[in-house]
């Protein structure tokens, strides 16, 4: 399905493994290329690093940044930490859930990297370093600050339009 465009696990590991690099650096490189860390890379990574599969799996699941399933076309990371809370990020979170019909952190806990077909994915993050300009969030990696519900609605419409354009370009290519 979504995995179709992702290079084979062995190929990903071959391309990004180097004896001098740490496992985390290699995982970053794999996720940067594939958009996520396919669970199938665990075995070849374990062989390459001479680690157990449990150790590799442990590292992947320990860190919030690594995802084991492909990201939705629009991925939103909203800061839920104190500075943003003082400026209404919780009310904004409710607005975002109502607007998108998705739940925050719903993708967490499915564990096995199951693909999902939602158009939007909502993640909680704890601090983007923009605490003087709260609330802050990223939409597909692009930072937005002083976000209000109105500003969010404009940005999400734009993000959907951008995602649709990228998807069309891919299909016609």
């Amino acid at each position: 399905m979504e995995h179709a465009s992702v290079p084979a696990p062995d190929e990903l590991v071959r391309r990004h493994f180097s004896p001098a690099a740490s496992l985390i650096a290699v995982l970053h490189a794999i996720q940067d290329e594939a958009g996520f860390v396919p669970p199938e890379v665990v075995a070849p990574l374990a062989r390459a690093f001479n680690l157990s599969r449990a150790e590799v799996h442990g590292v992947i699941t320990y860190y919030h940044h690594f995802r084991t399933h492909p990201p939705a076309p629009v991925t939103i990371a909203l800061c839920r930490a104190e500075a943003c809370r003082s400026m209404g990020t919780e009310a904004l979170a409710q607005h975002i859930e109502a607007r998108t019909g998705c739940r925050f952190d719903a993708a967490h806990g499915d564990g096995n990297g199951t693909a999902h077909d939602a158009q939007v994915e909502l993640e909680s993050v704890y601090c983007l370093g923009q605490c003087a300009l709260s609330p802050s969030m990223t939409i597909n990696g692009t930072l937005h600050v002083k976000v209000t519900p109105i500003k969010f609605d404009a940005r999400i419409d734009q993000a959907h339009a951008d995602a649709a354009r990228i998807s069309n370009t891919k299909e016609s290519a």
């Binding site: 690093f49 860190y63 104190e82 003082s86 601090c127 605490c131 300009l133």
Partner: protein
């Protein structure tokens, strides 16, 4: 001479459309036949004014605050290339009281220079510290840091000179300098401003640390949430290497130093130094038991200096101006300056670097201008998510490590998060426990289990079970976490919880009287 116009490249300014403004200025200048030299500077740290566009005039740099791309044509109509007056004018930037009243030492160049221009860096005092350090013995260099009184700015406030001396005296084939740039505390952004706004200064500080301790490799561990910082550092390291600052012969001397960026992966506890070292080694970021301290057995078991960004970025000015110069700032045993960060519900949020001893009231009211919402300030959390909530009765205590410790509070990394009178401190206390549960590394039981139990107990109290039994249970739990956790994650999560309970009991549905003080 061509007029120089400054549009920040800092991520705060970018998030507010700085790139579009820069493009519009270039196009509008071309359309009008005006020759401009566009500089992408760092942020001045006056974040409430971002995007802050500046123009060089004979009188100094004139600023225009909160500029939008749609303002650009009218800015030209108002003659902004010569400092013309416009609705967005903020006058001479250096004369803005918020900036003028600061004591910028660590951040002396912030916003003034192009962060990625070596020429700019050298023209503003860059490398003077490293050159001074290269003329000293390693012993004298460590003594300089010790004499300056510089303490770790990440929060623990351990004397940097002692750490350096321990690493210098350790015998090992390979020693390391690790910069802790895992700035995960909400309400803090000074590390980010340093990395994005003056990355060469941090690099210079790390090279000095290498020279002083005999370490030849350095790592900058930067959180993955800071992609702009990572990009700025990688670009700056490339330029520093090309200029001969890094490599086998630092500035042509016999000292070798190599430096690279390692990207974190979204784990708050990796800001704890031993968890950070585990993560740098490619493992799960699990806290190590101390001793041994990292200065003796750190990265890959070798002697390692682990210092925060601000600590290392302060080192160059100490060497350039001398230990005594730096030591003359501050009060008590808190020497020098701290870049305070005004955050949350505040009218004028940004970076305020001042000597220790300033009060919270002055920072929040005089600099910050009160809340952004215009409502009364109710509580200020100082020192990040593990810091206490301070009620108004404590706003006149001087910000000094010892004075804060005396009331059970922490200065930490200097972050201030302001909350107005609509805030619910019980909800924030529950959130503190929730955050600990999300981010606990899981190694020690008080933190791993205690945080989840803490969420539950606070929820029960908030849901109406305000019996003494529940409150005592929460206090006992906090006591166990403070005394029994391996690191500050579990050991300090009770600080915000207990301060909320002690000073704002009415938010928990308890009688609004001062309950018996908790063991702090």
């Amino acid at each position: 001479m061509t007029t120089r116009v400054f549009v920040p490249r800092d991520s705060s300014a970018l998030a507010l459309g700085a790139d579009a403004i820069a493009d519009a200025i270039v196009q509008e200048a071309a359309r009008r036949g005006i020759a401009l030299d566009l500089v992408r500077n760092g942020s001045r740290g006056l974040l409430w004014l971002e995007p802050l566009v500046e123009v060089d005039t004979p009188q100094g740099r004139v600023g225009y605050g909160n500029v939008e791309a749609s303002d650009v044509a009218s800015l030209f109509d108002a003659g902004f290339p010569t400092g013309g007056v416009h609705a967005r004018s903020v006058g001479l930037v250096e004369e803005i009281p918020y900036l003028k009243r600061q004591q910028r030492l660590t951040f002396a160049r912030l916003g003034i220079t192009d962060p990625l221009s070596i020429d700019d860096y050298l023209a503003h005092g860059g490398l003077e510290g490293l050159k001074a350090a290269l003329g000293m013995s390693a012993e004298a260099a460590c003594a300089t840091v010790l004499d300056s009184g510089l303490r770790g700015r990440g929060g623990a406030a351990f004397p940097a000179g002692i750490k350096w001396r321990t690493v210098r005296e350790a015998q090992a084939a390979q020693k390391y300098i690790v910069c802790n740039a895992d700035e995960g505390d909400s309400g803090t952004f000074s590390d980010r401003l340093a990395m994005e706004g003056d990355p060469f200064c941090l690099i210079e500080g790390m090279i000095i640390a290498g020279v002083a301790t005999g370490a030849t490799r350095g790592y900058l561990y930067v959180r993955s949430e800071y992609p702009h910082s990572i990009a700025a550092l990688e670009a700056a390291i490339g330029k520093a290497r090309a200029a001969g600052w890094l490599g086998e012969r630092v500035l042509g001397t016999e000292h070798a130093f190599e430096l690279e960026v390692a990207k974190g992966a979204g784990s708050y506890v990796c800001g704890e130094e031993t968890a950070l070292l585990e993560s740098l080694e490619g493992k799960r970021g699990i806290v190590r038991a101390k001793p041994p301290v990292p200065a003796l057995e750190g990265l890959f078991g070798q002697p390692t200096v682990v210092n925060n960004v601000i600590t290392l970025a302060t080192v160059p000015i100490i060497f350039a101006r001398g230990a005594a110069f730096y030591r003359d700032f501050g009060m008590g045993r808190s020497y020098g300056t701290l870049p305070f960060q005004l955050a949350g519900n505040i009218k004028r949020g940004g970076l305020v670097e001042l000597a220790f001893g300033v009060t919270l009231r002055e920072l929040v009211e005089t600099f910050g201008g009160g809340t952004a919402s215009g409502r009364p300030v109710r509580a200020v959390q100082v020192g990040g998510p593990l810091g206490t909530y301070l009620p108004e009765s404590q706003w006149d205590i001087p910000l000094d490590y010892e004075a804060y410790a005396a009331v059970g509070a922490v200065v930490g990394h200097g972050g201030l998060v302001v909350h107005d009178d609509t805030s619910n401190l019980a909800e924030l206390a529950q959130y503190a426990m929730h955050f600990c549960a999300v981010e606990s590394c899981g190694k020690c039981t008080p933190c791993r289990i205690g945080s989840t139990r803490g969420v539950e107990v606070i929820a029960r109290i908030r849901n109406g079970d305000t019996s003494q039994k529940q409150v005592q249970l929460l206090r006992d739990l906090c006591d166990t976490m403070v005394s029994g956790s391996l690191c500050a994650m579990g050991g300090m999560t009770p600080y915000p919880v207990l301060s909320a309970l002690d000073h704002f009991p009415e938010d928990f549905g308890l009688r609004p009287v001062q309950p018996k003080a908790a063991a702090a």
